[in-house]
């Protein structure tokens, strides 16, 4: 009887591990498949089903040279890095003090203002893409980095405020009280006491702002006109949608080039990802 019980437990465990392995495969396989396609020639993709995994250096070099150099994706990556970096820094600089005020200071209309900012997290980009395009045209910022940085800050700001409020809320009030008795002003308190404590929050919120901006291409589609100013997501989206019939070698390689920086970046800051995803969900 005890033996039967043990057998059943063993069987349950085996099934559980099979499920776990299946989840890992389902999560990872599409990435791996894309990476494999990017090492094959167009003919090989069409004829080798499933892929034979005979990696030929010449084909790989040819594919990536075509995408990175001939089609200019390397430049697009640099454009994106600049736009993502600057817009995230600005949003962080504006958003962190605001989140601090929401967490610590009482003021009139706090709930309404707070809810309005948080609800901007839900705004469909399509609802503002055209007006932003027309605005940027009016102030002559079409086809410039600034023309992307300005609206992108507005997209990541609500995210950053949302995440940062949570991190500030976790800092015990006693720290504020102690600092204020020592004669710290609000700014001294924020700069010298709070910022070092909430640094993980700043990394987390910057990460999520950066991911959003890196992947955004609808606003870029309107604002950017010339080939050389494209961001990586815009470049990838146009390459993928413009060609009929689609060149799968190019598409797969473009996909890999677009995805890899985000995956590497997220490996570096892995422990912050879950914090950012669950921001506001768990008290």
């Amino acid at each position: 009887m005890i033996g039967g019980h043990l057998m059943r437990r063993r069987a349950e465990r085996a099934v559980a591990y099979i499920v776990l392995a299946a989840l890992a495969i389902v999560g990872l396989a599409p990435f791996v498949y894309l990476a494999i396609l990017s090492t094959m020639s167009h003919i090989e993709i069409l004829t080798q089903v499933p892929p034979q995994l005979e990696f030929r250096w010449a084909t790989i070099v040819a594919n990536y040279h075509e995408v990175l150099i001939s089609r200019g994706l390397l430049r697009f990556v640099a454009n994106s890095a600049l736009v993502v970096g600057v817009s995230t820094l600005i949003a962080l600089a504006i958003g962190t003090p605001a989140a601090y005020a929401f967490s610590r200071l009482p003021f009139r209309g706090k709930d309404n203002i707070g809810n309005t900012i948080l609800s901007m997290r839900f705004m469909p980009p399509i609802a503002v893409a055209i007006p932003i395009f027309l605005m940027m045209k009016e102030i002559h910022l079409r086809d410039t980095y600034m023309g992307l940085i300005l609206p992108y800050c507005a997209f990541s700001l609500p995210l950053i405020v949302w995440i940062m409020i949570g991190f500030f809320d976790e800092v015990p009030r006693e720290i504020d009280d102690a600092a204020q008795v020592d004669g710290c002003t609000y700014f001294g308190l924020l700069w010298r006491v709070m910022l070092p404590i909430v640094r993980p929050g700043m990394v987390t919120s910057a990460l999520f702002g950066a991911i959003f901006v890196w992947n955004e291409f609808l606003v870029a589609l309107y604002v950017i006109d010339s080939g050389r100013m494209q961001t990586i997501s815009l470049g990838a989206a146009t390459l993928i949608s413009a060609e009929h019939p689609i060149d799968w070698t190019i598409s797969a390689t473009v996909g890999v080039v677009t995805v890899i920086p985000m995956l590497l970046f997220s490996l570096l800051v892995q422990r912050y990802i879950v914090r950012g995803l669950t921001a506001g969900a768990v008290k």
Partner: protein, 306 residues
């Protein structure tokens, strides 16, 4: 008492604003001004556009009042898009909540290696839905896609993934779920980790079955987290545009044209800015009604308003 008097002296009124008022203004001001200029103003601009017949070629649109909205309500394509959006949101949220909660419970078994798998499952959320669309378009390619090949090896007929209207919508929802079920999972899982062990253990000692413990103890405690995840997923599925861009571009026919994609088509391909703005305002109205209903239904409030 001493501290209180120090605090009172600090908040001396300076030109109508006390110390704290100035601090709030300086801390919050830049953020509010920025959002007013680059989020609120574009929304008002969009409302204004929706009342004109602006086309890209013209410099100025004519004021036509509510005509765009009237046209919309008579436009069968608008209703088609609304229907597609409704299907997309309902199906995605249902599938992702059910699977996400199941996964959270499963990972709560703490099998060896589950931390690694959790790390893998986070990855899809980080990448552009456009690329996700292309990825799956290659996996499902009817001639050489890997999934097609596997299905044929298993002895099934090759399904018409992306060419028949009914299956395409289904595939779209499944792929959205591939990318975003982990979102529900991570949030619910975080909540499970934070649950007090004593409650579940007490119920088990009382002789409750596993199902009863889940149904009457765990699930009610998880509800706030599930509701939170469901609201986020509903909104994101509703405004989702990039996945359709990468996967189907609205095809077959208008089978996967959602409201977001319909607004995009009008604004980008037909350059019918006024009409596109009206579509996006209809989206905002639906969003607002939907959010109000959902938030009231789940009794959720924004975090800081607790």
């Amino acid at each position: 008492m001493n501290i209180a008097s120090v605090a009172a002296r600090r908040s001396v009124v300076i030109g109508g604003l006390n110390h704290r008022g100035v601090a709030v203004l300086l801390l919050l001001g830049p953020c509010l001004l920025y959002l007013a200029a680059f989020a609120i103003y574009p929304l008002i601009y969009s409302l204004k556009l929706s009342l004109t017949d602006l086309q890209a070629a013209e410099a100025h649109g004519r004021w036509i009042g509510l005509r765009n909205y009237g046209d919309l309500l008579r436009d069968p394509f608008f209703w088609n898009a609304t229907r597609n959006s409704a299907i997309m949101v309902t199906a995605s949220v249902t599938i992702q909540v059910v699977l996400g909660v199941a996964m959270a419970l499963f990972f709560n078994l703490h099998l060896r290696g589950s931390a690694l798998v959790r790390g893998i499952l986070v990855l899809p959320m980080l990448i552009s839905p456009t690329i996700v669309g292309v990825m799956w378009r290659s996996l499902l390619n009817p001639d050489w896609g890997l999934v097609t090949w596997v299905i044929q090896q298993l002895g099934f007929d090759q399904p018409a993934w992306l060419t028949s209207v009914s299956t395409t919508m289904f595939i779209l929802v499944l792929i959205d779920s591939w990318q975003w079920t982990p979102f529900v999972f991570i949030i619910v899982y975080a909540r499970i980790q934070a649950l007090p062990h004593e409650v579940v253990e007490a119920a088990q000692i009382d002789g409750a079955s596993r199902y009863d413990v889940f149904r009457h103890v765990t699930l009610p405690l998880l509800m706030p987290a599930i509701a939170f995840a469901a609201v986020f997923r509903a909104v994101d599925a509703f405004r989702s545009f990039d996945l359709i861009f990468g996967l189907t571009y609205g095809s077959p026919g208008r089978g996967t044209v959602t409201l977001a994609f319909f607004a995009f088509q009008n604004g980008f391909h037909f350059q019918n800015y006024g009409y596109a703005a009206a579509v996006s305002y209809m989206m905002l109205i639906i969003l607002m009604i939907g959010m109000t209903v959902l938030l009231r239904y789940f009794g959720l409030r924004a975090r800081h308003a607790q």
